[in-house]
């Protein structure tokens, strides 16, 4: 009876959400794809130009640079955030005094918005670099490490919480059995804990990877692409193309479509590979 009722009413109850989803996501997405083939100034006044926008993308050196810069940034930040996040999670599951305070403190940066963090770190880092008569926007390298530091500071706490939950779910008897069998600390970590927290690793790498690729606010606030657009990540490049250049709205839109496929492909591939490594208890 219950199941049958559910089956009958399901479409009905899903309707409001479905409508919202269509208005808020599917329609803009479809429009976005359509507009990437158009020349336009305002989105409801577009003229079809075919593949021209996509050809223009790859003539844009800044976009290619942003692509590699973003890829490098994603690799470095995924590794650093997850390594540090996991290490802190290990420390804070040892039962040391003040564990809860530390967890809260580490988590808190995540509650502050990207723009605000960007400006705060800009002040801090410029303050430090001023001693060497340099600034964050002096070169793309400075900007790169500035963003890595910022992202680590912001995301480590969040990933730490996920890892803590994973580590606490490792059954005590497994650890005890490993100890009795004479496993060293290193062996316990690599042979027991890591395989057991693999689901957490999957979700954390997924989050950090997509976050790094889509990073916008922090980039805008911290360096805004300076100098010479060399510290510009993909999302900012798309934004600048769309809003910064008259007549390039279509190209910006086409870049966004390409961007969607890149992020989608990477995320799916990453889920596939880490998922395979997960073990059942």
């Amino acid at each position: 009876m219950n199941k049958k009722v559910l089956r009958i009413y399901f479409p009905l109850f899903a309707l409001p959400t479905l409508i919202a989803f269509i208005i808020g996501f599917l329609v803009p997405f479809g429009m976005g794809i359509y507009l990437s083939f158009c020349k336009f100034t305002t989105v409801n006044d577009a003229e079809w130009v075919g593949m021209r926008n996509f050809k223009d993308i790859f003539a844009d050196k800044d976009f290619i640079h942003a692509l590699w810069y973003t890829a490098l940034f994603a690799v470095v930040s995924v590794i650093t955030i997850n390594v540090f996040g996991f290490a802190i999670a290990m420390l804070l599951t040892k039962g040391i005094r003040g564990t809860n305070i530390f967890r809260t403190v580490f988590f808190m940066p995540n509650l502050i918005g990207g723009i605000v963090l960007g400006y705060i770190w800009q002040l801090i880092l410029n303050g430090i670099l001023a001693n060497f008569d340099k600034t964050l926007t002096y070169s793309a390298t400075n900007g790169f490490w500035g963003m890595i530091i910022l992202m680590n500071w912001q995301q480590i706490g969040y990933m730490m919480i996920i890892y803590i939950a994973g580590i606490q779910n490792v059954p005590g008897e497994l650890l005890e059995a490993a100890r009795i069998d004479g496993a060293t600390n290193g062996q316990v970590l690599t042979k027991v804990i890591l395989p057991m927290v693999m689901p957490s690793i999957t979700i954390c790498t997924f989050l950090t990877l997509t976050n790094s690729f889509k990073l916008f606010d922090q980039n805008l606030a911290l360096t805004n692409g300076a100098p010479s657009n060399k510290s510009e990540l993909l999302a900012l490049n798309i934004y600048n193309t769309f809003y910064g250049r008259a007549g390039y709205e279509g190209v910006g839109q086409a870049k966004a479509v390409v961007f969607f496929f890149i992020v989608g492909a990477i995320a799916v591939a990453q889920l596939f590979f880490t998922h395979r490594k997960e073990v059942q208890q």
Partner: protein
């Protein structure tokens, strides 16, 4: 029973989605007629306006004057009953906001562009203003954007920039031993100016300042002073030498002069030149206002910032930007406009007429003229302001003195720069050169090659040189 449940559920789901739509609807109405909220008397006038069908929606560019525009609109609504909505884009986001607003069904009826280049984006949306009061009262066609005989935009504020200086500090310098010149009147060419600046920089401790110039910040809040306003001078002299007023390919005849003045700025300033990438417009303004620097390249709009920290009108003066062009002894300040009113041609006829009526009121009524001239501090190009509605501050006075002295004002040729990207590329190259990570050649290339490339990108390769 089952049917009843089903019916109730259906009704509830339906009402939920209806609520969602109704929600959008009320919100829409709310934003399009904000005048309704001003009081009970307003409601009737709004109804009256709706009866004639005309509404005005002004998307304002200048956040400094946002409040004043809203007040002025309210006054107009009280007098005529026509709804006027004023919205202001946040600083630096006008283009984005305009793009988004124009896509709405309640699009702005009145908006603005900054010159011929931005006009190219919006030209299809510009109503021909030829038969309107704002164009007829314009003192000169120089202040209108005219394309194929159609008046697309009309300037509403005239601004002037140059090198603002601190009179008190400069006079202190004149009294030091071995001062290069003894009076500001003697500074009428680049070489003298350079000698003065370098001498001031050498004596900065004696004068109690941090540097001759304020920091030449290349943050986006300040870089336009150099990649646009300063770049105007080599463009101006080249146009003058070639007898043209726009070009598809700039030659860069005066780029060495641009090089000289840029070197002068960055080498004689309050901060090390490797630091300028993060210096902001506010940094430079406060350095000047606090008396840490003598010279500050900016314009009449910066008046409020200049006096914010205790400087008075007597401390302020303005010098032309000398770069070593021919006949610069008679060069005046740079005067022009980059604020042009445009009326949305895609709005309904009633809205267009309402907008034109509103603009007419703004430049002819006492309230409108007084608000623009006295409260907003605008120097306007309209003849209707001649009888006693003149904006007045120390910088505008300085600008008027140059005109009275018969100096030739430098026109704002940067409005012919092919695109924003050109400015960005030149700015980037200037910064890289300044901090030592790039060569001056990159500036030359961005300036000359970039101009041709951007002109082609914007106008299409087929367009022959006009």
């Amino acid at each position: 029973m089952k049917n009843l449940k089903k019916g109730v559920a259906l009704a509830m789901a339906a009402s939920l989605s209806v609520c969602a739509f109704a929600g959008c609807n009320t919100k829409d109405n709310g934003t399009s007629t904000p005048a309704e909220t001003t009081g009970s008397g307003e409601t009737t006038s709004t109804v009256a306006a709706d009866a004639t069908g005309g509404k005005v929606y002004y998307l304002n560019f200048k956040p400094e004057q946002a409040e004043l525009w809203t007040q002025l609109a309210k006054t107009y609504t009280e007098q005529t009953g026509v709804t006027v909505k004023v919205d202001t884009a946040a600083s630096g986001t006008y283009e984005e906001t305009l793009k988004a607003e124009m896509a709405k069904s309640e699009a702005p009826t009145l908006f603005q562009v900054n010159g011929p280049v931005e006009l190219a984006t919006w030209t299809d949306y510009c109503y021909d203003l030829k038969d309107t009061s704002i164009y007829k009262n314009l003192k000169s066609d120089d202040f209108a954007l005219i394309e194929n005989d159609a008046v697309k935009g009309v300037a509403y504020v005239i601004e002037t920039y140059g090198i603002i200086y601190n009179k008190t500090l400069l006079n202190d310098y004149f009294e030091t031993d071995g001062a290069v010149v003894k009076s500001v009147d003697e500074i009428n060419n680049f070489d003298t100016f350079k000698a003065v600046v370098e001498d001031i920089q050498a004596k900065k401790d004696e004068l109690g300042i941090e540097g001759a110039f304020t920091s030449s910040g290349m943050d986006s809040s300040s870089d336009w002073r150099f990649k646009t306003h300063l770049a105007n001078l080599p463009i101006y002299y080249e146009y003058k030498a070639d007898g043209i007023d726009s070009t598809s390919a700039i030659k860069g005849t005066y780029l060495d002069n641009y090089h000289d003045i840029w070197d002068l700025y960055i080498n004689n300033s309050t901060c090390d030149k490797t630091m300028i990438s993060s210096k902001t417009g506010d940094d430079a303004a406060s350095e000047f206002a606090l008396g840490e620097a003598v010279f500050y390249q900016n314009g009449t709009w910066a008046y409020a910032d200049c006096i914010s920290e205790g400087l008075t009108d007597d401390d302020l003066g303005m010098l032309p930007i000398f770069i070593g062009g021919e006949g610069e002894e008679n060069q005046g300040l740079c005067t022009g406009s980059e604020n042009y009113w445009c009326v949305n041609s895609k709005a309904s006829e009633a809205d267009i007429q309402a907008t034109l009526a509103f603009l007419d009121w703004v430049i002819t009524s006492d309230e409108g003229r007084s608000c623009l001239a006295n409260d907003m501090g605008f120097v306007t190009p309209f003849s209707t302001f001649d009888d006693g509605y003149q904006a007045d501050n120390a910088l505008i006075k300085a600008a008027n003195e140059y005109i009275a002295a018969g100096k030739t004002a430098v026109s704002w040729n940067f409005s012919t720069i092919p695109s924003e990207k050109w400015k960005d590329d030149v700015g980037n190259a200037l910064l890289e050169y300044a901090q030592g990570t790039g060569e001056w050649d990159a500036v030359v290339s961005a300036f000359v090659d970039g101009w041709a490339a951007e002109y082609e990108a914007v106008h299409g390769a087929a367009t022959p040189d006009a």
